[in-house]
Amino acid sequence: MAIAGVVIVTQPDKTMHVLEKLNEMENVTTYGVHNDVQIIAVFEANSSKSLEEMSMEIQENIEGIMALYPAYVTTEDELEKLA
């Protein structure tokens, strides 16, 4: 299981649209909008690799996203494998 905390920067007029799209997604939880253009969200996926893929997909498919900053990634399963 991998979890990422991200900041998504949107075009000012597309913020609500992006928020709606994100909320429709099963593996995404949003935690509010700040400064009208920054959405805080958490992505969940099976591995850090699928997290990356997910981030790419979201960025490519949702209109109005200018940037996506992962701020925190935890991968407990991978940690255990590593150990």
Binding site: V7, V9, V37, Q38, S48, E52, S55, M56, Q59, M66, A67, L68, Y69, P70, A71, Y72, V73, T74, T75, E76, E78, L79, L82
Partner: protein, 123 residues
């Protein structure tokens, strides 16, 4: 290193909107160029990035010989081009900062990464 907190990029805050061009890096795991890894970090970087090595040497880390790998990883199995605050805290737990109470959002808002000096007062 704490695997738990792999911080890919944390330098957001004020510079956020200005920095939009460098976004792609944020999603891909960074890779150190494939080099001759039988040469130590410092030895090679003294040639390729002498200014960075000079800055580092002038710092407390340099004095203590706490090398590149401490913050940036070994370059092969782990590599962080721009390491985040969590890597600082592992060695400096006494400086655990509640960033909600400061204007800064991470260690490097105030400290230059290599000299470790304060950006504003020293520049």
């Amino acid at each position: 290193m704490r695997k738990l907190f792999i911080v890919l990029l944390m330098l957001v805050t004020a510079g956020l909107l200005v920095n939009l061009t460098s976004l792609k890096n944020a999603q891909t795991k960074e890779k150190h160029p494939d080099v001759d890894f039988s040469v130590s970090c410092v030895e090679c970087h003294t040639e390729v990035t002498p200014d960075v090595v000079k800055d580092w040497k002038s710092s407390k880390h340099g004095e203590m010989n706490f090398g590149c790998y401490m913050c940036h990883g070994d370059g092969q199995q782990e590599f962080y081009a721009r390491p985040g605050s969590q890597r600082c805290i592992s060695c400096h737990p006494a400086y655990e900062v509640d960033f909600s109470k400061t204007k800064a959002s991470n260690c490097f808002d105030c400290h230059q990464g290599h000299t470790l000096k304060f950006h504003k007062t020293d520049e």
